[in-house]
Symmetry: D2
Subunit: 337 residues, 4 copies
């Protein structure tokens, strides 16, 4: 009969997750022993590096990555870069060893007390399975959670004695949607507002690049004859920086950002929060009279934006659909910088 460990490796294999980043301690040994030949272990010398490498690998490959950390102190060491991965919206499965179930009640050495709460502020889902037999399906759920929009890290705390237990069958390998499209009615409304704009500006964020949507972004910029800015502190480059429409990264501060957009009556923000201000420089969020239209697949970003009407959608699908719906303009293109 297959063990929990064998069933989990089979699932990870089926999900294409055969690379594991980590910095192991003893609580991870039962997972790592007899490490399969077709898997690759990337050994970091500190948990911060392990998380950072996994984050970069996931971004570079466009697929979720798996990083395996030591129980509480090791997970703690990785928390700083987990904060970064959260803001990067990187799909990461962070797993960590936990003491054996047999002793957890007495909180022995290397027990992670409140393990699921430790990472909670910076993961989409934090879980310690109620039974050893749930570990494979918990990985499936973790994968599904991490890869659905808005993508991001998840956390699994895994008691070290669970791996050798007999599995209760293999979980079904399931697939989930990794993007969603704009509501057609609201999209048409957005298109009409942009079409009616006298002088629109385009502000793009890292999600445009995550969606592989540079071509759609370029097409829309041309269609609108509009200048393009990167939103402040973009986690990825959202637009070709040598494109004549590109104006650089907007300032990080409220007043200066509005000044940079002076003269525009409509600001279309795609794939960014509104905005990653840092020093607090008081002022209006937008030039006088301007309206902001906000497109992102992250409902938390639309909820907390101080200004603007919003549309939930994959940035790539939304950009392509807007190009479809918008008529060509007779405005001259912006002068190159």
């Amino acid at each position: 009969m297959a063990t929990v460990r064998e069933t989990t490796y089979d699932l990870l294999r089926a999900l294409g997750m055969t690379t594991v980043f980590g910095n192991p301690g003893s609580t991870e040994e039962p997972f790592l022993q007899d490490f399969p030949d077709d898997f690759r272990y990337v050994h970091a010398l500190h948990e911060a590096s392990a998380v950072a490498m996994a984050d970069g690998y996931a971004q570079a490959t466009g697929r979720p990555a798996h990083v395996n950390l030591h129980t509480a102190p090791g997970t703690g060491n990785g928390m700083g870069n987990l904060v970064t991965a959260w803001h990067n919206k990187t799909p990461l499965i962070v797993s960590a060893g936990q003491q054996t179930r047999e002793m957890l009640l007495l909180e022995p050495r290397l027990a992670s007390r409140h393990a699921t709460e430790l990472t909670q502020p910076y993961v989409k889902w934090s879980h310690e399975p109620a039974r050893a037999q749930d570990i494979p399906a918990a990985f499936m759920r973790a994968y599904a959670t991490a890869t659905q929009p808005p993508t991001g890290p998840v956390f699994l705390s895994l008691p070290m004695d669970d791996w050798a237990q007999p599995a209760a069958g293999a979980p079904e390998v399931r697939t989930v949607a990794t993007r969603y499209a704009p509501d057609p009615a609201r999209l048409r409304e957005f298109a009409a507002r942009v079409a009616a704009s006298r002088c629109p500006a385009l502000v793009l964020g890292g999600a445009v690049d995550r969606a592989g949507a540079w071509p759609a972004a370029v097409a829309l910029a041309k269609r609108l004859a509009a200048p393009v800015w990167a939103a402040p502190a973009p986690e990825r480059a959202p637009f070709p920086e040598d494109h004549p429409h590109f104006r650089g990264v907007l300032p990080y501060a409220i007043g200066p950002l509005a000044e940079a957009l002076a003269g525009h009556d409509t600001v279309l923000v795609v794939g960014a929060p509104v905005f990653r201000y840092y020093p607090h420089v008081p002022g209006d969020h937008l030039p006088a009279g301007a309206r902001l239209l906000h497109v992102t697949d992250d409902p938390d970003e639309t909820a907390r934006a101080p200004v603007g009407d919003s549309l939930l959608a994959d940035p790539g699908l939304a950009l392509a659909a807007l190009v479809e719906l918008l008529p060509a303009t007779d405005r001259p293109p912006p002068a190159p910088r």
Copy 2:
């Protein structure tokens, strides 16, 4: 200069939220005093009733409702029905009074210690503003959060001395998307799989009704000549119960539910979790050989489903799009019950 209280009432007015359900205590008085004539206060005699009435009102009107509770003990009294509202996916703004900021550090009588953690397991967002001046914009963010898919309750803890403070301007009244459409590529894949099905079954959940999508559901049932079940323990009626295709509510248990679907090779679930089992009756989740396709606007539902491939979308938009994409079948319609 307008106060925080005046600015908040102006915002609630602009959002159409002029009905307040509640069971007040002294910590709510500064919000309720000089209650405006154009607002309506629905006074419950217990917080459980206040939350339940607000839940029903929101469901009946199709709009978010506002319920105002007393500090910790009152909020505690309402927690049971908040659990229900969470499962109902009802957009509720739950606000509660908090002691004055001046004394919070010494945790005086009626302070709600860890106020935002009290409701956290059953709200989408739990917040106590960092400044009195943030209350109006916090209501705007609460409204946006509650009404975006998947809809649900949110919580605001509001220090009682904040209401009389001078406001820092009015927040912008913003609008957000309340639904999103399926990824077109994945939708076509789903349509192809349904079209290729020998004997599909349709299982619908409460979100179909929340989306106002009975007509689309009926059209799809006819197009597929498929029987229709309600998913176990639906929070709303997802299909006309006197329709000849309707087969009733599926059993709550794993084995029996699979038996009820025996003979079907494709099970299309729309607007429900997979599934609200209650007694644990072991068995397979589906009849042998059957595949499940899952459509919902709640990524947590798709992540935790034990079987099935999923598509994130507003159930109404997805049903309508599937009717468009699916050819008519030459199967006979199911016999009436």
Copy 3:
């Protein structure tokens, strides 16, 4: 071989906890079936009543009480009175049913998501055992936690399928300290400061009565010839109200409370927080020049007090020790009211 259920009943019997308050649902049935003849079930018609009865019973008997609630919605219904039990410092074991472990990962109907977080702000310990076999020992730990100073409620979330599992032996019945004594060096310092006081006042809280320390409080009042007040909003009567030294309950508000103590240079507070203010009336916390000495067994109360030096101790032991250390005064006793 004994089951988890049998072993738990044996432990509860050994702890003298043969009364169970509750309002059960199906998730509690596996615990309650074949309810032993020597146990008593007190059936409330609502969880709020069940918690309140258990709170009163524990206070009246001076022993911890057990209240068994339904999963999330039932526990939610009891939260309001759990807030009260927390402030009463009542040793309560609150147990609640949880869905079966087999299905928890898919969050079926009646699963309590984040069960341990639901009650956390108002319990000393919140726990869902990692294995069925830990339930008896978890009750032992719950009992130990609830009864140690400062006493208070604890919470256990118990999967319904765990009760029929074979037990892994019985936990050892352990005893813990239920009070601790003052640091002798610091006590002598407190005694010296009180002895040097020109006009001391005694302010007592509910913990004096919980410690059964009316006689010691009366003896100290006589030894000091000092007037006695009850601290604001006492959860129990801390002093005989017909005693000639008794001056009533202090006002709830900062300014008025200081005025009530005018003329006293030393305020000795025993067994109360400093203080349960409610309306915020600005002012000084004490009369000009007065110093506060604070004795309680709750380190959170001493940490958050805005004024005063403090001594951690059981109020009864501290009062008795102060009577020993303090010389008789030649002040006249306060005039009766």
Copy 4:
């Protein structure tokens, strides 16, 4: 009028906390600017080092230390060593910068979302003041919380714009008890049980050294003619290792630890958890027939111990009191190793 910053430095000065460890970022600048000449800033190159240095400094000086970290990512970097400081029971005030209150609602760059939850599993108190004016008194409460038994770390999240605000007066500098004595009745019972023991063993933990109680431990070992072990994985050396009674550190595992204690009928554990097991080696917790008596100032340690009766007390006070109460034995001293 004094600022919040000035008032805080005055308080830290009064508390003797003029050394600050840290690794600053921009959110800490408003606290650090115009750093007073009589304060010392110990600049680490990584937050892990800053926390570790502060931990060691506090342990070496026997006084609480202050470590100032950057907002979320910096605090995250320090989490691993915060786990260690928690297990070391080191009194640490960990403060961290937070974004300005003016922008927190929109969660700008460097905002620490859920700041107080980030560190919560490994601190005694986690707090973000409700007003700028509460910062000085929050430090006073932090100090009181960290230094009371059981000592440990606390966390303050401090919005960067708060420091320049006008203070609302200086908080009172308060003192708290840093130890408490055993309940005299229960202590006599423990002494009687030890006195009646045929062959007692003494097991000591790091808290004995924190209490400065080597002399009392040596005196008790002699009085009992008992061998002395260090509890597994002690965070400090609890007994002179060259003393003839010293037997070394007990094994980390259940079975082997019981074997090491074979022949003893009473095991008196002072100042340690029972026990810091690490590999899970099944077995009995004690030799057959042996009883464990547990003395510690940490009620969580007594609650979760799998075996033993316990007494809450400062280890130093308890050891000294036991020496007083116990008669001399006529057993021969244990042979030197």
